[in-house]
């Protein structure tokens, strides 16, 4: 019964842990959920030089989110730290947490546990005295694990300043041979005299293999709003945009605005000076411990670099 899905997993993980971080409207559910049967989605990502991994999980029955209630909660752990996923993710019925991982352990284990007191820790009254415990639910004991692949180290571009969307550059990183999948996303800020316009893109890569090099055109990040044809990239909307916002928030100490994607002032990027924050993700599938579990599970690590576009 267990099947692996890979498409759109990386967008899921970065979106699930966003809920409390920014004010982005998410009005649809997690994509690619089968309309029938139980389906579990689990993900973990750790950004380079950040000492924690972002964890998220969601369970669906017939495409309807199934909440964990009564003190059942997902525990994510490395060999040194563990955390309960007590925060809601951005999708109904999803849960998220930031798992401390300063030692950069590669394996993250998931286990559904029954912790009626820990799960109520946000309440104001003495939950140990006033504890209504319905007992463990059906998910308790379910487990899974993911391996966080190595981070895409030595992320570089052969040029970082561009004047035309016809320009291209070569993105390079330390290649690995594990067969992981690479994805490129960006958070773009364009400026005119008075305004700032921010948006996100997911680049269409020539190949997404972990070969250490990819040539990418600027048209994957900068576009002309007056051009009626579809841009070659995919706009980061909904879950993906929210996901990248969360990652930006993690990098706030480097000067990224907390409400990056809330700016909706529209100026034409092709005519404006733009800063392109480029993120490279390395993804790897994980595994549920029960072959009965149907779903998708992944671990990833990411890194970022910054490019500049100035047409003038």
């Amino acid at each position: 019964m267990f099947r692996r899905y890979f498409s759109s997993l990386h967008t899921f993980i970065f979106s699930l842990f966003l809920l409390s971080a920014c004010d982005i409207d998410i009005d649809h559910n997690l994509p690619d959920i089968p309309p029938e049967g139980r389906f579990v989605v689990v993900g973990a990502n750790q950004h380079n030089n950040i000492g924690s991994a972002e964890i998220a999980i969601a369970i669906f029955d017939d495409a309807i989110p199934v909440p964990l209630v009564g003190g059942d909660v997902v525990q994510a752990s490395t060999s040194e730290d563990s955390i309960l996923l007590l925060k809601d993710g951005i999708y109904i019925g999803s849960y998220a947490a930031s798992l401390p991982n300063p030692a950069n352990f590669n394996q993250v284990d998931f286990l559904v546990v029954h912790e009626p007191l820990e799960a109520r820790q946000g309440r104001w009254y003495p939950v140990d005295l006033l504890n209504i415990d319905p007992g463990p639910g059906e998910f308790v004991g379910a487990s899974a694990s993911v391996i966080l692949p190595p981070p895409p180290l030595d992320l570089q571009t052969d040029n970082s300043n561009f004047m035309s969307i016809n320009d291209s550059f070569t993105l390079s990183w330390s290649a690995e041979t594990a067969g992981d999948i690479m994805k490129v996303r960006s958070a773009v800020s364009c400026f005119d005299d008075d305004n700032i316009y921010t948006y996100g893109t997911e680049a269409a890569l020539i190949d997404n293999t972990d070969d250490g090099s990819e040539t990418i055109g600027l048209e994957q990040f900068i576009y002309d709003i007056n051009d009626s044809s579809e841009p070659p990239f995919t706009f980061l909307l909904g879950q993906s945009r929210a996901a990248l916002q969360e990652l930006l928030n993690k990098l706030i100490d480097e000067g990224i605005a907390e409400d990056f994607f809330n700016s909706i002032t529209l100026i034409n990027p092709i005519d404006s000076s733009c800063e392109i924050r480029l993120f490279l993700f390395r993804h790897r599938d994980g595994a549920f411990d029960s072959v009965e579990t149907n779903g998708r599970i992944f671990g990833s690590r990411s890194a970022d670099t910054t490019l500049f576009y100035n047409p003038n």
């Binding site: 209630v69 309440r123 104001w124 009254y125 005295l129 209504i132 319905p134």
Partner: protein, 202 residues
């Protein structure tokens, strides 16, 4: 745990029995409108606490008081978290002893203060619902202890014996569930609000 406080109250009242005379006593009954505050994420609705006090004037401007208070069940907001949907509520009663200094500023009007200590017994109740198919339930736990209160009031006499009074009041119950739960779960409960009442002098 409650008995020592009752003993103190009895001794306190008894100390004044031999000095009680006509026209130097006052009984007042008040409705105290308050939203309890546990100091956390609670957000209680406004509820009512009934209080009845006996005031004995030891001096023309100073009364020694003792009283009783009892609340209705006052509900916190209903909220939902990862565990379920729950609603705490609180109910309390207790005794007070204190002092009531007064300042008469016109024939029918006076302002007064009222402060003292209190003994309380308070019950927290939590009702919780999880999901269809799972049993919901409720749990109640009582605690007792002491605290204090302070108020500032205005009294207006309709007749020589009957008067109306209005108070701004705060009442604080200390260390709820101390000794029953972990130290970080112990909390104080504050009741701040106003009261309206009537008093009868005799």
């Amino acid at each position: 745990m409650y008995r020592p406080y009752k003993l103190i109250l009895a001794l306190f009242c008894g100390a004044f029995l031999n000095t009680t005379q006509a026209d130097n006593s006052l009984i007042d009954a008040n409705i105290f409108y308050t939203a309890p505050d546990a100091g956390g994420s609670d957000d209680f609705h406004t509820g009512k606490i009934l209080s009845v006090n006996y005031n004995h004037y030891a001096l023309p401007w100073l009364a020694v008081t003792s009283g009783f208070f009892a609340s209705e069940e006052i509900a916190d907001n209903t909220r939902t978290d990862i565990v379920g949907t729950y609603r705490p509520s609180i109910k309390t009663h207790g005794f007070t002893i204190g002092l009531r200094p007064e300042f008469i500023f016109s024939k029918r009007n006076k302002i007064y203060g009222h402060a003292g200590i209190l003994l309380y017994k308070t019950s927290l109740k939590v009702e919780e619902y999880f999901a269809p198919g799972l049993p919901s339930g409720s749990s109640t736990e009582a605690t007792d202890g002491n605290g204090y209160f302070i108020s500032l009031g205005w009294a207006h006499s309709f007749t020589k014996k009957i008067s109306f009074q209005f108070e701004l009041k705060t009442l604080r119950q200390l260390d709820l569930y101390d000794g029953k739960t972990t130290a970080q779960n112990v909390f104080d409960m504050n009741y701040t609000g106003f009261s309206l009442g009537m008093a009868y002098a005799f």
